[in-house]
Symmetry: C2
DNA sequence: CACAATTAAATTATTCACAATTTAATTGAC
DNA sequence: GTCAATTAAATTGTGAATAATTTAATTGTG
């Protein structure tokens, strides 16, 4: 008897690329990054740098650790990225007075100026997406929900 | 008169991190990769290598270019990745007879053996997600739809 | 046939992601 | 107050993503 389960895309066992949620997610994330880069590259910024900047627009003077918890990135990623932003003149890194282990990151005038670049980059993305605020919000919620479940070691009963 | 539009998360102009679809997407993609890695790392595989392998499970003997079109990756990413898979003994790369510019990638017995690892990795993800096949399929469709719109240079009327 | 244009893959360089280790500052137990 | 434990960031090493360039094979035009 030859089983041909492998050729039946049943959802549970399929390994077909087009059935993979993970591939769709991976592709979407890279497409999103790519669209942001169209605008950002003219200003010498990268997409992860954009994410760091909007964190600082929201609250300036965060430490490396606070940025890392917010963005889910560790110092191995952030330290060199922040050094590049400092060389560019967008931020200043300074050891905290009260605890010299901490490094505080502050926007310069040039750094605050990137706020307009960020808004323009975002506008391009929104124009392409053509989604209503409601749709955007829903989709974002679904993604956040999924992320939370993926991060949850014990799915309810293990 | 002081405008305070910046502090009102209106969806259109907000630069708050939690309002960013892009960040939710970025975080979800990394969380997904992380869960796959939990299983894959025990076998010395990475997540992008997993994606290449399931392409080859679906159709063996693809060329570098065909893999690239399927996964949206160029030779700068694929060549070193495939060399690592070859060193691992999972695939063999061979110039095509009829056109020596092409490099065909074929699974070895060891490579085909990773099919079980791939299924197990996928099972862990599905268990965490706790989504029905219908939900998975819908979500995948939404992501693919979004990717297509992001890739589309001219959104209908430019 | 000869030679320009095209195609396929590889290479080089920059940046990001992440694991593992190291260094330095701070805290806590005694 | 001393010293172990903890915390914060930096460093090191590997792999991946992408742009730009290079090399080699093939195709097409004359």
């Amino acid at each position: 008897m030859v089983k041909h389960a492998d050729t039946i895309p049943d959802g549970e066992n399929s390994l077909l690329l087009d059935d993979q949620l993970c591939f769709a997610l991976h592709a979407a994330a890279r497409a999103m990054s790519s669209v942001y880069m169209e605008t950002l590259r003219d200003h010498g910024l990268t997409y992860p740098q954009y994410l760091v900047l909007i964190c600082l627009f929201e609250e300036d003077g965060l430490t490396v650790g606070q940025l890392g918890r917010r963005l889910q990135l560790d110092s191995g990623t952030l330290t060199p990225l922040l050094k590049r932003l400092e060389i560019d003149g967008a931020v200043i890194r300074r050891r905290a007075n009260h605890d010299e282990r901490r490094v505080e990151v502050r926007l310069t005038t040039k750094g605050r100026g990137y706020r307009d670049v960020a808004k323009r980059a975002r506008a391009v993305v929104l124009q392409r997406l053509r989604m209503t605020n409601q749709e955007l919000s829903n989709f974002r919620g679904q993604l956040a929900n999924m992320t939370e479940r993926l991060r949850n070691e014990n799915p309810s009963d293990e």
